[in-house]
């Protein structure tokens, strides 16, 4: 530390020093950081086991300094289920994108929620397949252009975007369901509080915790990071409203 300077902002010790591969402006980095801040603040690093998906966050284990498993595409919920059942006193989370959780892994997602598996889903919904180069996701908005919906998503042939949080909320097994975003500092702070709440619910062992993050993809959406944040406000959030959908005692 240089003389006369003081640290006023730093990453949590629960993140590694590895350089992240995420594109400039991507919300993944923000979510990694605030989630791992929660892990640090709750002092649960030694007890936490995570599952990363196939998708942009496939390398999450390079950044999150906790034990992690890399699951096959769509299977993070099945993998997390078994980890929690084998190690019931650990804190378990899956970190999944929309292709992973809401397309190829829909069955695993719904059934884990329905069984009330006691782990936290962190569902990063950016409405596009980022890693494979910008193809349509189950959560791509109607009319939104992607490389596989070049004229815009047509609900007549492609169906309308899936609202996963609304789908899992009525399931008996789900104890906590919320949708957050990371598009501005206020929402980032809210998201962090929600992550903490979800993990506290996991400690109570009363059911699945499901937190959807309305995210962005400047590279796939072919816009600047700032424009992607505007798109979240103007397009994404009206279709995917933020808030707590279900919590214990309410």
């Amino acid at each position: 530390m240089r003389e006369g300077y003081e640290v006023i902002y730093q990453k949590p010790k629960t993140l590694t020093d590895n350089k992240m591969h995420y594109c400039p402006g991507c919300i993944h980095g923000i979510m990694h950081k605030i989630f791992m801040e929660v892990v640090e603040e709750m002092d649960i690093q030694e007890k936490t086991v995570g599952v990363c998906p196939v998708g942009c966050s496939v390398f999450a284990y390079d950044y999150m300094d906790v034990d992690m498993q890399e699951a096959a595409h769509g299977r993070a919920a099945a993998v997390a289920t078994a980890i929690k059942r084998m190690l019931p006193d650990r804190m378990v989370f899956s970190y999944q994108g929309d292709g992973d959780l809401a397309a190829i892994g829909t069955a695993e997602t719904l059934h884990a929620c329905n069984r009330g598996e006691n782990f936290l889903f962190i569902f990063i919904n950016n409405g596009i397949y980022g890693m494979t180069g910008g193809q349509m996701a189950p959560t791509t908005l109607n009319g939104q252009k992607t490389t596989t919906s070049p004229l815009g998503r047509d609900k007549k042939s492609m169906g309308s975007p899936l609202k996963m949080t609304e789908m899992v909320t009525p399931l008996d097994g789900v104890a906590f369901a919320a949708r957050v975003s990371g598009n501005n500092p206020a929402n980032v702070r809210k998201a962090k509080r929600i992550f903490r709440k979800a993990l506290e619910i996991q400690q109570q062992n009363i059911g699945t915790q499901f937190v959807e993050v309305v995210s962005n993809c400047p590279s796939g959406w072919k816009c600047t990071p700032v424009e992607s944040m505007d798109w979240i406000v103007e397009q994404s959030i009206p279709y995917y409203p933020l808030g707590i959908f279900k919590e214990p005692g309410k």
């Binding site: 993998v79 997390a80 289920t81």
Partner: protein, 354 residues
């Protein structure tokens, strides 16, 4: 002497898994192996393991992945179409080097096929099944007793080599009842420092992955896997032989057809034919060295692979024999077990043409 019981093959496998210290079972019902999950569900309250009836075989095998990577002894069981659904998971498990036991109580295929016993999954079991360069140990029991013995062996080999071990049985062995001797429960103390059990302050984080995105990393991983496979080939070949010493004609058969083949050998011997049986117990690693030895013996005139398939293991027999002696195939499909009479007719006819 262990406890003696009269049991169905599938139930014997399930009981053996409990006694081997299995901690997690994840499965989906499918005929003809559903007795495994039923037995384990009934026994669960009396033991420490966790059972989940998964939403699919795809979920089952990925639960096996997660449970194995968390350091637990885990198993799934299924039958042919269900095993097809698991292939992606098996490939991941092989690459991530996770110990687990999978049993395929095979039925006749392809497609939805028949619920009768079949041996048409040999290729899938020993040649990969899933994508990429991997191998798995494949054990082929031919009795209810071996359903017990192989299950216990499978857990041990899985842990020893950090590999999936497949028990390739079939609907006949799974459904038949025989007397079995059960071992006492085996004390199991996991020693898996690589498992994802939570990063304690005294170690780096553990992560389990099958992703090696850089070419040189992927190749290094493959070289290391292949080294392990060569070691398994060297150490773990198992086979059984019957009336082989003076045999001039040799049957190769595994699983249920190796049982009928003993009868065939007896009948042939009564008719003065010097027939013997070579029965691979490990389908991978395959007893190639022993077959080379037999094929190099001057008195041996021919090999006959007897299967309930359209001809699968015969390819490995031929590879080992390598043209030294004629190698014939006789098989039935659809769940039909070749009768001793039809096999002897075939062998006599072919031997007469030599």
């Amino acid at each position: 002497m262990g406890e003696i019981r009269f049991m169905k093959g599938n139930e014997a496998l399930a009981e053996a898994a409990i006694r081997a210290g299995m901690q997690g079972y994840f499965g989906y019902p499918i005929t003809p192996q559903s007795e495994v999950i039923e037995y384990l569900a009934a026994e669960e309250p009396n033991h420490d393991y966790t059972l989940i009836q998964a939403e699919s075989e795809v979920a089952s095998i990925n639960m096996v992945y997660g449970g194995a990577a968390a350091g637990a002894r885990v198993m799934t069981t299924t039958s042919s179409p269900g095993y097809s659904l698991m292939q992606e998971g098996v490939s991941y498990i092989a690459c991530a080097e996770l110990p687990c036991v999978v049993a395929n109580i095979a039925r006749g295929g392809p497609g939805l096929g028949t619920i009768q016993a079949g041996q048409g999954d040999y290729f899938q079991a020993v040649k990969g099944g899933g994508h990429g360069d991997y191998r798995q140990i494949v054990l082929a029991p031919n009795s209810v007793q071996e359903m017990v013995d192989h299950t216990i062996l499978a857990f041990e080999l899985a842990d020893k080599y950090r590999t999936p071990v497949l028990i390739l049985s079939d609907g006949a062995i799974g459904q038949m009842m025989e007397k079995v001797e059960l071992p006492d429960p085996i004390p199991y103390k996991p020693n898996k420092p690589w498992a994802t059990t939570g990063k304690t302050h005294d170690r780096e984080r553990n992560y389990i992955t099958s992703l090696y995105i850089q070419s040189d990393d992927m190749e290094r991983k493959n070289i290391s896997l292949q080294k392990k496979f060569r070691k398994i080939e060297e150490k773990e070949v198992r086979f059984e032989e019957y009336m082989i010493e003076d045999a001039e004609l040799i049957i190769t058969a595994y699983g249920v057809t190796s049982r009928t083949s003993k009868k065939i050998v007896d009948l042939a011997r009564e008719a003065g034919i010097k027939l013997g049986l070579h029965r691979p117990i490990t389908l991978w690693p395959f007893p190639s060295e022993r077959i080379i030895e037999l094929a190099s013996d001057d008195k041996v005139k021919a090999f006959f692979s007897i299967e309930m398939s359209a001809g699968q293991m015969v390819e490995d027999v031929k590879l080992a024999v390598n043209g030294r002696k004629p190698t014939f195939f006789y098989g039935r499909t659809g769940g039909i077990i070749p009768t001793p009479e039809e096999v002897i007719d075939f062998i006599q006819k072919k031997a007469g043409e030599l």
